[in-house]
Symmetry: C2
Subunit: 151 residues, 2 copies
Amino acid sequence: MNNGILGTKVITQIGLLVHDIEKVSQAYAEFFGMEKPAWFWTDTVDKAQTEFRGASSEARAKLAFFDMGSLQLELIEPDRHASTWREHLDAHGEGVHHIAFVVEGMKEKISLMEGKGLKLVQKGEYTGGRYAYLDTFEPLKVMLELLENDK
Amino acid sequence: MNNGILGTKVITQIGLLVHDIEKVSQAYAEFFGMEKPAWFWTDTVDKAQTEFRGASSEARAKLAFFDMGSLQLELIEPDRHASTWREHLDAHGEGVHHIAFVVEGMKEKISLMEGKGLKLVQKGEYTGGRYAYLDTFEPLKVMLELLENDK
């Protein structure tokens, strides 16, 4: 055995698409007895450098995070611009969008995955790191997100 | 704040429905550098006492588990009998079916949830414990599974 393509198998996040982040955040907070976190917008394209299917996109999303044990549950309410979030929400409705893994060497990981025919769907920057979604649905039955945080 | 309805917010499992558990197990094993676990059938109805929407069901599924950090990823290939697994797979295709939580006092937890209008969808026994799926899709955008293990 080896460490696999990602060098990790620790799921750090489950991402869910929702239509109304306020309402779903409230439901989670009540059901699990947690404080309702404040949601925030992802950065604008000048800062996030968002690319969806190879093209720059102004897409943004409202995000809210809940600590659920050793991983985070992420709620995502996308805007109307083109993104994997909007595409998935329109095609499949609300529900799970991805599971995420923290990696080192984002570029190399993406190259390794592309070498296996797994397509980069979307990528972008956030304060302190960057993310990439890859279409792993055919082999793994769920989309993966890679997260790389600056040291 | 309180501890919420379940008394826990630790996600212990993510369950995915698949058409071919052998194939998807192999893909996970290769991608993440893990050993391919042996899948196994859930118990027959005499032992599992499976109930789906209030009626006894002979439904069974092949299950395989992968340790992915502090939680397990569960692959589920259902048979043709009536179950939440078969229903969800037929309606939505392959992908995430539920997230699971280990609880104490299964009956009480189910009652509390039913009191909030959340319906019990399926329940059953396994060696060393029992499970219940509840339809939490409307508020939480994903189905929950409760697991209770004998002490």
